[in-house]
Amino acid sequence: MLKYIGKRLVQSIFTLFVIITIVFSLLRLMPEEGYLGAAAEKMTEAQQEIYLTNLGLRDPLIVQLGNFYQGLFQGDLGKSITYRTDVPVVDIIQDKMMYSILFGLGAVALSLLVGVPLGILMAQFKGRWLDRLGTGYIVFVVAVPAMVYFLMIQMYVTGWFGWPMLFDEYNPISFILPLISMALGPIASYAMWMRRYMVDELNKDYIKLARAKGVKERTIMFRHVLRNAFIPMAQYLPATILFTITGSIYIESLYSIPGMGGLLVDAIQRQDNQVVQGLVIFFSSLGIIGLILGDLLMAIVDPRIKLGKGDSVR
């Protein structure tokens, strides 16, 4: 097992290298106007050239890449250019991360606490009113565009209760709506998949056998069905938790939460290469770790799954 993890990690470093190199090259293909901002209109060609040269954009790609990796090995992600001029990328990420993580974890917890039981109940009472109600909710969340009902919740609910519309660190009341809004989608999707897997599992022969043998319905549900149904979910869980860090672009925008949501999109649109690269490294690492953890968790929950050749003892 350890050997397998080690191997995966070594591969990941290589993957990371490829990702960064590709993203780095793609960024150099972007239109150059973005670097100049509002000044583009007024500068002469020669002045633009000087400006771009000073940014290091006229060096050969390989030299730029070399400089970047040199900095990276010294633990330096570089400084922002057009997002927050001259501020280290690490500082930018650090400032914003905590807000997104805290909101994200809150939302994941809330959606697991509500979504999974909802899915289980729906499967258990398949076809009855609870199932219909749950399905109605899921359908609503999936069907109505998120940006419509997020805005609706913000505008009307704050109006009814007299709550502040914007996020305020010192006023816990203002956390409630963003948190709930953030959890609405995941609750629906957890419930939906949980129900799907449970129903699939309940149709299996061993369940029929268990029922025929007179095993208690409770035991069937929790010891057999739930465990098996949870396997596919387990795969995604670590990545879901890690990725709470990226924040939610809609909700953070609406409520003025100074989190990570939209940071990547902003940085790309402003062509702040340093920030984009920093974020890509950061997010890719999380993604890769999430994948490894997901595979591990899956293997732990389901002993039938074997990972890697070396460990196949069975």
Partner: protein, 324 residues
């Protein structure tokens, strides 16, 4: 000694040719052993028909698709892009509430919302279907190979990690910069990055299944890999694939709405549900104009709900255990 050697030599001589015969896997013979008058798809269809709501919604989707196609040729239809001028004032017929002339009203520059919505639905459904098809085909092929073959696991995991971690926004900006914003640009951009999720999903399913005993048995019996995938795994997966696929259409439409939100969608001169909803979103707080948000939202919701429910009941129907 000499005698035995001869004997053994004889045996090994014979064994080369006729002593053992390799059995050839014969598809038609394999089928002969199966349940004779059972057709998987017919049974699936039959059990799908039992769900009345789903059947109704299926008709609705077919109707919507059909209607978007024939709507421009119906009598007294307006053009989706033409700006209508009010004959009394000589100005554009802006923000006209729904009436006999403009069935769904007009937008802020005097275009007919009814025809814009159908034009937009057409665009969005087209994007949704193309993207969903590509996602499922590419996703299944890659996902199956990735999950099934241990040799390919490492390179595919790498490929997944790479593609998954290149931000879609960069790809989209570059695409719209190189190819100009258009429907095909958005389809290409969504396909380039979209298949990975499907591939990963299927790979996980296959990893769960591939080491089950019946597959191990198949393998020991020398069944080739592609056969295991197509005959052992695919039927098992068909229900989740169907569900995914039916969700992929509304997801692609939703993705288009999101892209419009962050400013990378289609230009407003090409109506799409994303454009219409994004334009209408700012009007939510003014009751008189809210119809500009509500109509496109209803169409989007109806399509999404229909696909969702059809997908779910089809997934139920596709599970052989639910057949008689």
């Amino acid at each position: 000694m000499g005698l035995y050697t001869k004997e053994i030599q004889n045996i090994s001589d014979k064994s080369n040719e006729s002593l053992f015969d390799f059995a050839v896997a014969d598809d038609s013979k394999a089928e002969e052993t199966a349940y004779s008058n059972y057709s998987y798809w017919r049974s699936t269809w039959r059990s799908f028909l039992k769900n009345r709501i789903a059947v109704f919604l299926l008709f609705m989707v077919v109707f919507i698709i059909g209607f978007t196609l024939i709507q421009p040729y119906l009598p007294s239809q307006k053009s989706p892009t033409e700006i209508y001028i009010n004959p009394d004032t000589g100005m554009q017929d802006r923000n006209v509430a729904p009436n006999g002339e403009y069935w769904f009203g007009t937008n802020s520059i005097g275009q007919d919302l009814w025809s814009r919505i159908w034009e937009g639905t057409r665009t969005s459904l087209y994007i949704g279907f193309v993207v969903a098809m590509v996602e499922v085909i590419v996703g299944f092929t890659i996902g199956a190979l990735w999950g099934f073959s241990r040799k390919l696991e490492v390179p595919f995991t790498q490929l997944y990690n790479i593609v998954d971690n290149i931000p879609t926004t960069i790809v989209l900006i570059l695409m719209s910069y190189i190819l100009r914003p258009s429907v095909s640009t958005i389809i290409i951009a969504m396909c380039i990055t979209g298949w990975v999720e499907m591939a990963r999903f299927l790979r996980n399913q296959i990893v769960i299944l591939r080491d089950r005993e019946y597959n191990l048995a198949s393998k020991t019996l020398g069944t080739p890999g592609y056969r295991i995938i197509l005959k052992n795994l695919l039927p098992y997966l068909i229900s989740v694939i169907m569900l995914r696929m039916s969700l992929a259409v509304p997801f692609a439409i939703g993705a288009e709405v999101f892209l419009t939100y962050i400013g990378l969608g289609l230009p407003v001169s090409i109506p799409s549900l994303g454009n219409l909803i994004n334009e209408g979103r700012v009007l939510m707080m003014s009751p008189d104009l809210r119809y500009q948000l509500i109509f496109p939202s209803i169409v989007l919701s109806a399509i999404t709900i229909a696909f969702y429910i059809i997908g779910n009941s089809f997934a139920d129907a596709a599970d052989p255990k639910n057949h008689v």
